[in-house]
Every structure is written in C-alpha cells, then in structure tokens.
C-alpha cells in the first residue's frame, strides 16, 4: 500500500469527519475573547484616570524640617516647627506660575476669613518678582519662605506648581493637593479634613 504524505495530508485532514468538538476545547477558543473583554474594561476605566498624577508618599508622615529665610523679611527665618499646635496650609507658588493665579483668589478669600493659616513656599523664584506678584494679586500668606534652588521643594516631593499640603497640629502631612485648589476640591476634600483636624 502506498503511503503518500505531504501536501495530501491537507486533503486527508479535510476528508476525515471533523472530530466532535468537546465543550472543553471549544471553550479554549473563547479565551482570547475573554481576555480582550477584561482588557477593554481596564481601558475604559483608564479613560477617566490621570496617568501623570504622582500621589505623595508623605501622607501620614511628618513634614520634612527646613530653615529658610522669609520673603518679606530676609533677616528672619522660618521653620515648620514654629507652626506646631496649629493646622495649617503649606502652599507652593511662584510669580512665573500661571496656574497659581487660578487658585489665588480662593486663598486670598480664606485668609480674609481667617479660616486657616497659610504659609507660602516661594519656589525657584526671584525676590522682586515674587513681591511684585503678591502686591498685584494679593498676599494670603501669613508669611512666605524663599526656596531659590528648589531643594526644600525636592524634600517635600514637589514636582509642579502650585501644590498645597495640609499639615496638622503635630506637624504631620495629612493631604496634598496637586495643581490649583479648585472650589470643588476645597469644599469636598480639604475643608472637611481641616475642620476635623482642628477639632482634635
């Protein structure tokens, strides 16, 4: 009997009756579809997320210590130790920062209503420009400190401006706002936290 294989193998596979597909093996073929559906789900959720936002590792940790000169009074310095016993905001700003102007009216308003003391970190800026900016847009800060080379900023994990830290009475960072403080962020996240911290 001649046994010819090769290209004819094609024919024999087609000619033999299709093996009854066991349910188990048919399910195997649906695996790619299943994987894709899960993937699509993640992609959909991903559309609502911000991949570039960096959460702070300082939440729940003490605010890093520093000693910097003050913006308005260069002969005096400031260290976060001095704010012990108070709940306060540490706001990173600069005169060259366009987005800072978005939140500035809100900060000025807070300062007027004496809701919470705000200390400013003037980040990588020039003294004259900074003072001029405050003169023009208002000064909500109890005081501002000068961080010309950005080292204190690095110590606080600052990567953009503006950023704001909520620090409690024991000097522990409780919250970090990345980007300008919007009305919604203040109302829904920061104010309730501040009230809660002020009570304790």
């Amino acid at each position: 009997m001649n046994e010819v294989r090769g290209a004819a193998g094609d024919v024999s596979a087609d000619a033999s009756p299709a093996a009854p597909t066991e349910p188990k093996s048919a399910l195997r073929f649906a695996l790619p579809l299943g994987i894709f559906v899960v993937l699509a789900g993640f992609l959909f959720v991903g559309l609502g997320l911000n991949p570039r936002e960096v959460p702070s590792p300082f939440i729940g940790k003490p605010a890093p210590a520093f000693q910097l000169t003050q913006l308005a009074r260069p002969e005096q310095s400031f260290s976060p130790q001095q704010m012990q016993g108070e709940v306060w905001l540490f706001n990173v700003w600069a005169s060259w920062c366009v987005a800072c102007r978005i939140e500035h009216p809100l900060l000025v308003d807070l300062a007027k209503k004496n809701v919470i003391p705000i200390v400013g970190l003037n980040y990588k800026d020039k003294r004259d420009a900074a003072l001029g900016w405050l003169g023009q847009f208002g000064d909500p800060y109890q005081l501002s400190v000068v961080d010309t080379d950005g080292r204190v900023g690095i110590d606080y994990g600052v990567y953009g401006v503006p950023e704001t830290f909520v620090i409690d009475k024991t000097g522990v960072i409780r919250f970090k706002q990345i980007g300008p403080i919007t009305e919604a962020a203040w109302r829904d996240k920061i104010l309730p936290l501040v009230r809660q911290l002020q009570k304790s």
């Binding site: 001649n2 010819v4 004819a8 193998g9 960096v54 590792p57 920062c97 366009v98 953009g160």
Partner: protein, 157 residues
C-alpha cells in the same frame, strides 16, 4: 480638564524659565559620572511625558541630576540615592518597579506566560498525535495527485 491644563501650564513654565546652572556632571570623575548617568536613566522625570531625568531638560530633571551628583560626591551608595528619591516621590519615580505584592504579577507574568505557552505546546503535540489519523490515498486521489504534479513544477522546498 482643569487639572490637565494646570499640569500643561506647569510643564510649559518649567521648560521656559531661566537657564540652568553649570551642568552638574562636570565635577565628577569618570566612575562617578557613569554612576550618575546610570542612576539618572532609572529615574522618571515627573513633569515630562515619559522621559528619564537623564534625557530631560526640564528644570526639575536638572535639579534632580544635580542632587544625584552631590550625593555621589558625598559618598552615598546607589541604593541610598534611590531610597532618597522614593522617599520623596514614591515608587512611581523608579523605572524599575520594586518587587512588592502589587507588582508580583508584573515580574512573574512573563514567566507564567512562558510556562502556559509551553504547556499548551506540549498538549497540542499530544492531541495532534491522538486526533490526526492518516490513511493512505485512494486510487482516485493518486490519479488526481499525478495530474496536479504533471503541471509546471513548483519550487522544491
């Protein structure tokens, strides 16, 4: 989106403001410079669209490179410097994610995939042996084959 706009403003501002100080790498020796370059390539520039701080000209990247150089000159080890960065920016700053419970799937995933592929391979071979039956050709099929082969010869493979 306000946040997106804000970050774009931040990025723009950082890129266009000021000229950086003397390039930090200048004060290191050859070995130190190599360490600095290697470290900088592993750290993410947080204000950039997916670049390491070695590649980026953003101010934060320049500042962090300066920080690395100073720490190398102060005698800190590579691990110390990485820990320094992670303490301030979180694991997100490392391009080589640390092996923690939530990254186990990432690090072992490829191996699992390979094992699964290998098992599939072996099972496919075994199934094939069982299910593909080969019977000899009938006379009619022989004739057809002869007819087809009698045409223009195909390239030998």
């Amino acid at each position: 989106m306000t946040l997106r706009t804000a970050i774009a403003c931040v990025l723009l501002a950082l890129l266009t403001s000021g000229v950086s100080a003397a390039t930090p790498a200048l004060q290191l020796d050859a070995a130190g410079a190599r360490r600095a370059a290697a470290l900088a390539e592993q750290l993410r520039c947080l204000v950039c669209q997916n670049q390491s701080i070695a590649e980026s000209n953003a101010e934060l990247a320049v500042d962090l490179r300066r920080e690395i150089n100073e720490q190398i000159r102060a005698g800190r080890s590579d691990t110390d410097i990485r820990d320094f960065m992670v303490a301030r920016y979180g694991d997100f700053v490392l391009y080589r994610p640390p092996v923690k419970s939530h990254t186990l799937l990432l690090w072992f995933g490829p191996a699992l995939l390979a094992i699964a592929a290998l098992l599939a391979f072996m099972r496919a071979l075994r199934n094939r042996r069982r299910r593909v039956s080969e019977r000899p050709l009938t006379d009619a099929e022989h004739a057809e084959a002869a007819r087809l082969l009698g045409g223009p010869a195909s390239t030998p493979q």
